[in-house]
Symmetry: D2
C-alpha cells in the first residue's frame, strides 16, 4: 500500500545525486518499525510479566518517535541539508539497534517480530548513511 516510491518518482525537482532507492527503502523501514514499536510497547502492557518489560516499553516508545521523525525528514527532497539527514539517521540507527537488542531478549512473539523490524530499519539507516558518505 506504500506510495513512497511513487512520490519520489513524481518529485518535480532535481534529485540526481542522491541514492533515491535507499531513501525509499529507509522511509518504508522507518514507518514499519515505528508502527511495530508502538504496537509492541502496547502488547507488553498486556503481558503478565509486565514489570519485566518496562525497559522494552520505554525503548520502543523512543524508537517509535525517532523513526517517525526520520521518515518525515527523509520524505522531503526540497533543499535537503544532508547534515540534518545524517544526524537524524545516526540517531535512528542507534535507537533501532538498542530496541532490537532489548526485544530480542524477550520470548514474546510480538517482541521477536518487532526486533526484526528494528533490525531492518537499523540496516536501512546504515546503508543510507554509508551511501551518503
Amino acid at each position: 500500500m506504500s506510495i513512497t516510491q511513487d512520490m519520489v518518482d513524481t518529485y518535480p525537482g532535481n534529485l540526481a545525486p542522491l541514492p533515491l532507492g535507499l531513501f525509499v527503502q529507509c522511509i518504508d523501514a522507518c514507518l514499519a518499525c515505528g508502527q511495530g514499536c508502538t504496537a509492541c510497547a502496547d502488547a507488553c502492557l498486556a503481558e503478565e510479566e509486565l514489570e519485566r518489560l518496562t525497559r522494552c516499553i520505554r525503548l520502543n516508545l523512543d524508537c517509535a518517535d525517532i523513526c517517525a521523525a526520520t521518515a518525515r525528514v527523509l520524505s522531503r527532497q526540497t533543499d535537503t541539508d544532508l547534515r540534518v539527514t545524517i544526524a537524524q539517521l545516526r540517531a535512528c540507527a542507534a535507537a533501532c539497534e538498542i530496541s532490537a537488542i532489548e526485544c530480542e531478549s524477550h520470548r514474546h512473539t510480538h517482541c521477536q517480530t518487532c526486533a526484526e523490524a528494528c533490525r531492518r530499519c537499523q540496516k536501512a539507516c546504515e546503508e543510507l548513511l554509508a551511501a551518503l558518505g
Copy 2:
C-alpha cells in the same frame, strides 16, 4: 514491508469484539497517506507555480500530522476507549477528504498520487467507523 497484521496477530490480550482486519487496513492507509502528504507538500515547494499551492501544502501538512496520530491510536489495543478512537477517526476522515479534494484539483502527478492515498485513507476510516457503530 508492513508488520501491522503480524503485530495484531501476536497481541497477547483479548481482542475478540473488534474488527481487527479493518484496524490493520486503516493503520496502513494512515501511514501511507501521512507519508504521501508529507512528500506532496514538499514536492509542491519545488513547483514553479508555488504560490497557487499554499492551500495544498497547508492541508497536506495537517493531514500528515492527523494521520500519524490516528495510526498511533489504532495501533494500541490495551484498554481501548472507543470514544477516543472514534473521535480521532472522524478527524482523520475529514482531513483526508479535504486534502483529497484539494489535491484532485491540481494537475501535478504527485498531487494525483497523494489524492488517491487520501481517498483510500478516508475510506478506511469511514469503514472502520461504520463497523464500530
Copy 3:
C-alpha cells in the same frame, strides 16, 4: 519560554476573523498536556502497582499523540479549513477528558498533575470550539 503568541503576532497574512487569543491558549495547553501525558505514562512504568495503571498509560499515550497533532494544526494560519480544525479539536477535547478522568482516579502526584493539564487542555479546546461556532 513559549513563543506561540509572538509567532501569531508576526504572521504576515490576514487573520482578522479568528479568535487568535484562544488559538494561542489552546496551542500552549496542547503542548503542556502532551508533555505531561508522555511523562505520566512513563512515571506509571516506575510505579509498584504497574499492572493497575495500564489503562492510564494507554490513554496518556493516545492523548499525547492527539495533543501533538492538534498543536500542529492550530499553529498553522495559512488557508485554514475550519472543518479540519474543528474535527481535530473535538478529538482532542475527548481524549483530554477521558485521560483526565482516568488520571483523577489514581492517587499518584504525577497522575494528579497530569489530570490538571488534561482538564486545562480540554477546556481550551472547548472554548475554542465554542468561539468557532
Copy 4:
C-alpha cells in the same frame, strides 16, 4: 503553563545521577522551538517572496519534527539508555543550528523570532550533551 518541572519532581523512580534541571530546560526549549518552526514554515507560505523561502520552510519542518521527537525522548525517565538520548540530542542540536542560520538570513520578524527559539534549543541541547559527557 509548562508542567515539565512538576512532572520531573513527581517521578516515582530514582533519578539521582541525571542533570534534571537541564532535562527540563531542554524539553521546554524543544517544545517552543518545534512550535515556532511549525508556525514559521506556515508564515513563510503567506509571504510574497515565497519562492525564496523554500529552504527555510523545509528546514523548519525538519526541525519541528526532530524537536518533537527529542522532547518525547527527554520526557521519559524510566530505564533511560543514554546512547539514544545523546544521539537524538546531537540530531536536534544540528537541526536547530541549521534552521537558525537559515532563519537569521531572512528579514521577516517571524524568521527572527523562530531563529531565537532555534538558538535557545540548540544551546539547551549542547548544554545537556556536555553534562551527559
